[in-house]
């Protein structure tokens, strides 16, 4: 049994090293220079570790088989040797230096987000992504300025909940609106979030960057080849954390321009609010403090956001329509209710968790809710 499991382990080790090329066992096929650097860095370090591992445990197993009592081995008595201690302190140190050198180069490269051709702001929401092509930052200026939209999971709910329904090929990794970028251009991604921390991650690009509410962080990539690349939110962000994928479609520059020109009129005409599934009637373009101007629609805000909790009374939220739950609250007066809805109270997140909403919008939503609950 001992041998068997050893063999199993050894094979497993080899798998992880030898077949590293196949993405099932190793990193995904890299599509950018950074991802390639990471890939080879990983391969390098993996092999160094495998070699050290084999050497150390080769010695250990040799000893286990030869220096056991059952084969009559008598214990030696040595227990100290400064020379070997120094040797096995220095050698690993030198090996580490060898690892640190290429790693340092890659870090410096990764961190260089200067001179992008295109800048896109990615905003994490609970639970979807909003993308906004930023004006005037990069040589592709003018092509896609101001285009903005939300990107939601598009896998049908039945596939998730009903085991009898066949799951699609890109189960959980498909969205309604893909992020479109040109190949061969340096794309800088600014990340931020509206509620909690999310992370923008596209494995094939070697890009992962936390999206932190109230702060902007950035990262960049330059895709080699056209194609569709899939990633996911990589920071626990609440219940639908597993359901906010990122899909990037890389296209040629012409196709990109073509796409952008089709987007623009739509974007200008209806703002991103065009999409009915959207949370609130606010463009991701709106910064976290001031909401975009526009008609304030309390019902829409309620249905898009507040109903998530207040519809069914989740987490202790007073259920809309449940008079008993509201009487005491109504007694506080409208101003207090609105204040609590805006600032949040206990489990009630400020502005329902979407700081992009304006005070007026939240107030409208409260009025709508109160109207239904009196």
């Amino acid at each position: 049994m001992k041998k068997l499991s050893l063999i199993a382990l050894a094979t497993a080790m080899c798998l992880s090293g030898g077949i590293a090329a196949a993405s099932r066992y190793g990193l995904q096929d890299p599509q950018t220079s950074i991802a390639r650097d990471i890939y080879s860095l990983h391969t390098l370090i993996l092999w160094i570790c495998v070699v050290i591992f084999v050497a150390v445990f080769g010695a250990m197993f040799y000893s286990i088989f030869k220096h056991r009592k059952s084969v009559g081995h008598k214990a030696a008595h040595f227990h100290e040797n400064t020379t070997v201690e120094v040797i096995w302190t220095v050698i690993p140190f030198v090996i580490l230096l060898g690892m640190a050198y290429p790693a340092t180069k890659t870090i410096i490269e990764m961190k260089d987000t200067s001179n992008p051709d295109l800048t896109i702001k990615a905003t994490g929401y609970q639970w979807k992504w909003g993308y906004e092509y930023i004006k005037g930052e990069g040589s592709l200026t003018g092509v896609s300025d101001g285009v903005s939209f939300y990107s939601n999971l598009s896998t049908p709910q039945e596939q998730i909940h009903d085991p009898k329904v066949q799951k699609g090929e890109n189960y959980l990794l498909e969205v309604d609106n893909e992020l479109v970028v040109p190949v061969g251009k340096k794309v800088r991604i600014l990340t931020t979030a509206a509620d909690v921390i999310h992370a923008f991650w596209v494995p094939a690009f070697g890009v992962k960057q936390d999206a932190i509410p109230g702060f902007i962080r950035d990262t960049w990539f330059k895709v080699d080849q056209p194609g569709v690349y899939r990633g996911q939110c990589a920071e626990l962000c609440g219940k639908e954390h597993g359901f906010m994928p990122i899909v990037v479609r890389a296209v040629s520059e012409e196709e990109f321009k073509d796409w952008a020109s089709k987007q623009k009129p739509a974007a200008v005409a209806a703002a991103p609010a065009a999409d009915a599934t959207q949370v609130a009637a606010v463009a991701p373009a709106a910064d976290a403090t001031a909401a975009a101007a526009g008609p304030v629609d309390g019902k829409k805000t309620y249905e898009g956001l507040c109903a998530a909790c207040h519809g069914a009374g989740i987490a202790g939220a007073p259920k809309v329509g449940d008079k008993a739950a509201w009487t005491a609250r109504l007694a506080q007066g409208d101003a207090t209710l609105a204040k609590h809805a805006i600032e949040g109270i206990r489990a009630m997140p400020a502005k329902g968790g979407n700081p992009a909403l304006s005070d007026a919008e939240v107030k409208a939503a409260v009025e709508h809710m109160v109207g239904l609950s009196k």
Binding site: L96, A103, I107, P203, I212, P213, C237
Partner: protein, 525 residues
């Protein structure tokens, strides 16, 4: 562990019996046993939560739980295993063994010692009951990152108070351990003659008193952000969610070494015993342990490589983290050198220690892979990290705990455990452990995020293997329980020194160790 305490007649104290004995005891052996039983209970609880996770992940799609409940399972699994199972188990070992190994009559503050223990059940109750309050337990991950944790319901407050109480327990426990070691060694037991287990605990206790208060500070700020209008972790108020992460990981990284240094200590007792050869490089082991502890204070941000810190920050934390491989390597090499040219036998404690060495080192290597910042950008928050830390926590801390339990059970109970069952426990644990967690490396590299209740199709087969392995591993632990119960109830009488190569003080005492030991300190030459 009734059998342990048969020989109490000579003593003049009138000891309460029944439940009052356990509630009021000031005896380090009683308290050690309570710690061990408590931690085993929490291990089962946390393990069952883990099985809940693995059952949902058995295949794609949402079968069993709502996503929010899944998050609660993950969070509570992490919290209970770390604070409920592993840490108290090591404190249990400290209670039993430190006085015996340094020739002290008890812990320095016997009454406070009992308080340290009895704080844990209330904390565990707070945690466990949070599943039943409105909104359920917290689902923000064991790291309780703001602002997600600010959003949570009442379960979060219960978790915060539980952390406060467990922190108080740990601080009192460590002060007790430090004072006992510094002030109550038998005459002649100089620091550099102390068994390595005692050394590792001394250093661990320092880590604990340095970082538990910081964790208390972190969750206190969380609490005021939740209820008292402060904005520590909110940009609109000049704060920063990342501030939470800095404070948390300033605690969190030393914390993971808190969970491994005593394990190193146990292994350093077991390997020389069964190799029948003194520990190789005792002094360098002590220095290595201290270096690991000191370095652990300057590496915390390796958990934060993707928060967007400046390149200089990434470089600093990457270099510092990689450095830890050096002292840890020294330890690994010293253990192998201890085995070298020994006269080894492989009873269960030795099997678990060798297993520890083999598998923990793999976990160390994957840690090193994580430490390389560019690679970590790819694998942070994926199953690769989950694989890494279960290799060091389960095959590291837990296996060492198993090893130590088998090693000292004869001393604790006065009986030999069932060697056959023990070996079976080892081999099945080893196989199922690797089956569960090895494949997670592949999942992580290929891009499966952690903390998700459902995943895309390409991850299906490895997840299925992992889930089967997890259930196998869990059931295997029933063998462990059986061995312990059998051993307490009876079994061959254990001699004072059941292991030929053992040479520390506790083996000079009869088995089971009498209720009061070393009331006149032994003299160590």
């Amino acid at each position: 562990m009734e059998a342990v305490h048969g020989h109490d007649h000579a003593h003049d104290h009138h000891h309460p019996t029944g439940i009052t004995r356990w509630l009021t005891t000031t005896n380090h052996k009683d308290i050690g046993s309570m710690y061990l039983w408590f931690s085993f209970t929490m291990f089962i609880t946390g393990g069952i939560l883990a099985l809940g996770i693995r059952a949902e992940l058995f295949q794609p799609g949402l079968q069993l739980w709502k996503p929010e409940f899944f998050n609660q399972l993950t969070t509570m699994h992490g919290l209970m295993m770390v604070f409920g199972a592993i840490m108290p188990a090591f404190v249990g070992f400290a209670n039993w063994q430190i006085p015996l190994m340094i020739g002290a009559s008890d812990m320095a503050f016997a009454r406070m010692n009992n308080f340290s223990f009895w704080l844990l059940p209330p904390a565990a109750l707070l945690l466990a009951s949070s599943f039943f309050v409105p909104g359920g337990a917290t689902g923000a991950g064991w790291t309780l990152y703001a602002p997600l944790s600010v959003q949570q319901g009442m379960g979060m407050d219960l978790a915060i108070f539980a952390v406060h109480i467990m922190g108080a327990s740990s601080i009192m426990g460590s002060i007790n351990i430090i004072v006992t070691i510094l002030n109550m060694r038998a005459p002649g037991m100089t620091l550099m003659k102390m068994p390595l287990f005692v050394w590792t605990w001394l250093i661990t206790a320092y880590l604990l008193i340095a970082v538990m208060p910081v964790l208390a500070g972190a969750v206190t700020m969380l609490l005021t952000d939740r209820h008292f209008g402060t904005n520590f972790f909110n940009a609109a108020g000049g704060g920063d969610p990342v501030l939470y992460q800095h404070v948390f990981w300033f605690f969190g990284h030393p914390e993971v070494y808190i969970m491994i240094l005593p394990a190193f200590g146990i292994v350093s007792q077991v390997i020389p015993t069964f190799a029948r050869k003194p520990l190789f490089g005792y002094a360098s082991m002590v220095y290595a342990t201290a270096s690991i502890a000191i370095l652990s204070f300057i590496v915390w941000a390796h958990h934060m490589f993707v928060t967007g810190m400046p390149a200089a920050g990434q470089l600093f934390f990457m270099y510092a983290t990689m450095l830890i491989a050096v002292p840890t390597g020294v330890k690994v090499f010293n253990w192998v050198a201890t085995m070298w040219k020994g006269s080894m036998t492989f009873e269960t404690p030795m099997l678990f220690s060798v297993g520890f060495l083999f598998v923990f080192t793999m976990g160390g290597f994957t840690g090193l892979v994580c430490a390389v910042a560019p690679i970590d950008i790819q694998i942070q928050d994926t199953y690769y990290v989950v694989a890494h830390f279960h290799y060091v926590l389960v095959a590291g801390s837990l296996f060492a705990l198993f090893s130590g339990t088998y090693f000292w059970l004869p001393k604790w109970t006065g009986h030999m455990y069932d060697e056959k069952l023990g070996k079976l426990h080892f081999w099945l644990s080893m196989i199922f452990f690797n089956m569960t967690f090895f494949v997670m490396h592949f999942l992580g590299l290929a891009g499966m995020p952690r903390r998700i209740p459902d995943y895309s199709q390409q991850f299906a087969d490895f997840n299925m293997i992992a889930s089967i392995g997890a259930f196998g591993f869990g059931l295997t632990q029933l063998i462990f329980l059986a061995v312990i119960i059998k051993c307490i109830k009876g079994g061959p009488k254990a001699p004072a020194k059941p292991w030929e190569g053992a040479d520390t003080l506790e083996w000079t005492l009869p088995s089971p160790a009498p209720y009061h030991t070393f009331e006149t300190p032994p003299v160590v030459k």
